[in-house]
């Protein structure tokens, strides 16, 4: 989780990712952020996120994103 929060705050230093729960719905993360985020995550965690995973439920909060990474890691 630490590493993920670091990646996120690197992207948007002004956002408090520990509390934000509508990153996609509120447009805090735009499509470029998503692209950058996915490439950083795949490097850091060695998982591959594909289109079917890129849904608001998985990206709306750091917590949701982290559980996606864990699920993908177990596969």
């Amino acid at each position: 989780m630490e590493e993920l929060l670091e990646i996120l705050s690197d992207l948007h230093p002004e956002v408090d990712f520990e509390v934000e729960e509508h990153l996609i719905d509120d447009g805090i993360l735009d499509s470029l952020d998503i692209v950058n985020l996915i490439s950083e995550i795949s490097e850091e965690f060695d998982v591959s996120i594909t289109a079917k995973d890129i849904i608001p439920e998985n990206f709306n909060s750091a917590k949701a994103l982290y559980s996606l990474i864990q699920d993908l890691g177990e596969e």
Binding site: E14, S31, V35, N36, T50, I55, P56
Partner: protein, 505 residues
């Protein structure tokens, strides 16, 4: 001869009054409604005595906003779109430049609009003025008196001095563009557009006006969908969207994550893209997914009204190769000029300059910067003839196709947006506690990288920039330095900065 853009609307409303013209998925307007409401807005302007003036349209992206644009033109004025995505500092600069007597708002923007400082400027709500009694006589008179070199809109583009430049286009340049573009991309009455670009740039001309010309339909796709590729493609399918003119990054968002293995666009037959290099690997994924579709690369600066050149992809490209920008649309010419103002030799690089009817009128209320970029054609000394110097360097390849090479200055294309790094630097420099600043662009990772020297933390600086710069201009990496590197003659050493950046990995 057509000399007024609203002729498209006047004709189509008779042929297809009840067809859907514009929709954002929740709100929809037919041609009859677009016609009626725009004439109400025009009548309102007339009643207020607002004529031949810039009218600011500050609305949520919606079919109503599109109708407001046409309403402003119906009143003999020209629209200046601004958007809630723009930071307030930038909006104030735009308002200062245009000195508009009226800001047209909706419920979502009215409060914000009231907070700006503009002398003798009123605020009106779309929903109220769209009910104005239509004054046919006055509108017909305004229509008859229009000249095709009268402006119809001003859109603002990044300026290196920190002050955005307002590019003013007229009926004639827009009509010329719409006619040529429609021919090249073969739009027709069955075209269903999926619009991606914001309405406050000229990019949206591609959908808004051909929709009127042919009685086609445009869906304004909600912005959030561009972050969720599967849902985006499902949206295209649901609305039977068959034509898209998108920035490259919106297309690669879909192809890069295996979306096509889950869902494919079923109706899409025309894909135009532009302003950015399309990575060939991603482009191939698109072609494999849509082998029957026509793919066209478009190129053109706002100053030339929309797009200027096109290249219909008709062969394979190797990875790392750039798709050409091809050749100009009919009725305009590209001059490739050397520094001495001479035509470039075959294969030689030169500045891309545009000649023809599609040139815009110049920068609004800005004769100095207009004179720098809109100049007398150096190859013609016989009579006045203006060309626009794009600042883009190009050359012709062996097949005789124009290829984009680089920029002359610090202008970049980032996520489809045209940005002067100088504008970013000027705005950073204005933040209290920043002493020195320099921007570089990492084209490979698509990142604006900012270096600065100052007391502020990186986080504080980002926060301060949000009120000054549009979101797409906020640097993606902000790095504080103890000292700025300088070259021997005292300029900030951008080469060293690039090296520092690359070493960080």
């Amino acid at each position: 001869m057509q000399n007024h853009v609203l002729k498209y609307l006047n004709q189509i409303v008779r042929k297809k009054p009840d067809k859907l013209a514009y929709s954002d998925g929740t709100q929809s307007l037919t041609f009859r409604e677009v016609y009626r409401y725009s004439r109400s807005i025009g009548s309102y302007l007339h009643r207020k005595g607002i004529y031949k003036k810039p009218v600011v349209v500050f609305m949520h992206k919606s079919p109503k906003e599109v109708t407001a644009f046409f309403g402003v033109i119906a009143g003999g004025c020209f629209y200046v779109p601004i958007d809630e995505e723009m930071p307030s500092g930038r909006i104030q600069l735009i308002l200062d430049n245009v000195q508009s007597p009226l800001i047209l708002c909706d419920e979502t923007t009215a409060e914000k609009a009231a907070a700006f400082q503009v002398k003798d400027c009123q605020i009106a709500l779309y929903d109220e003025i769209a009910q104005t009694q239509i004054d046919d006589e006055a509108l017909d008179d305004i229509y008859r008196r229009a000249i095709d070199t009268d402006p119809i809109y001003i859109v603002f583009t990044s300026g290196s001095t920190g002050i955005p430049k307002g590019v003013a286009a007229c009926h004639r340049s827009v009509i010329d563009y719409i006619e040529q573009l429609s021919e090249v991309l073969q739009f027709n009455e069955d075209t269903v557009f999926g619009n991606q670009t914001p309405l406050y740039f000229d990019a949206c001309l591609k959908e808004l006006y051909p929709t009127l010309k042919f009685g086609a339909t445009t869906y304004l796709i909600p912005r959030n969908l561009f972050s969720v590729p599967v849902a985006l493609v499902e949206y295209l399918n649901e609305h039977k969207i068959n034509t898209v003119c998108w920035v490259v990054s919106a297309l690669t968002m879909i192809s890069a994550f295996g979306t096509f293995q889950v869902v494919k666009p079923e109706h899409l037959h025309t894909v135009a893209f532009g302003s950015e290099v399309f990575p060939i690997k991603q482009f191939r994924l698109w072609r494999e997914a849509l082998p029957e579709a026509a793919f066209t690369n478009l190129y053109g600066p706002t100053e030339g009204t929309g797009m200027c050149c096109f290249y219909r992809v008709d062969r394979e490209f190797a990875e790392g190769e750039a798709i050409p920008i091809g050749r100009p649309f009919p009725n305009r010419e590209i001059l490739l000029l050397t520094q001495e103002g001479k035509p470039a030799e075959a294969g030689q690089e030169g500045e891309i300059c545009i000649r023809g009817t599609s040139l815009t009128l110049g920068y609004y209320n800005d004769p100095v910067r207009t004179a720098e970029a809109f100049v007398q054609n150096p190859l013609n000394t016989a009579y006045p003839e203006v060309i626009y110097k794009t600042g883009d360097i190009g050359r012709y390849n062996e097949a005789g196709e124009l290829v984009f090479v680089s920029r002359k200055d610090y202008q970049i294309k980032h996520m489809g947006h045209r940005i002067e790094l100088g504008e970013v630097e000027v705005n950073v420099g204005m933040v209290a506690g920043v002493q020195m600043t320099a921007c570089i662009y990492d084209a490979k990772k698509v990142k604006i990288v900012l270096y600065y020297v100052g007391e502020l933390s990186e986080k504080e600086l980002t926060e301060a920039l949000k009120g000054r710069l549009p979101r797409y201009m906020i640097p993606n990496k902000i790095i504080r330095l103890e000292q700025m590197p300088f070259t021997a003659n005292g300029k900030i050493d951008r080469v060293t900065l690039k090296n520092i950046y690359e070493k960080r990995g």
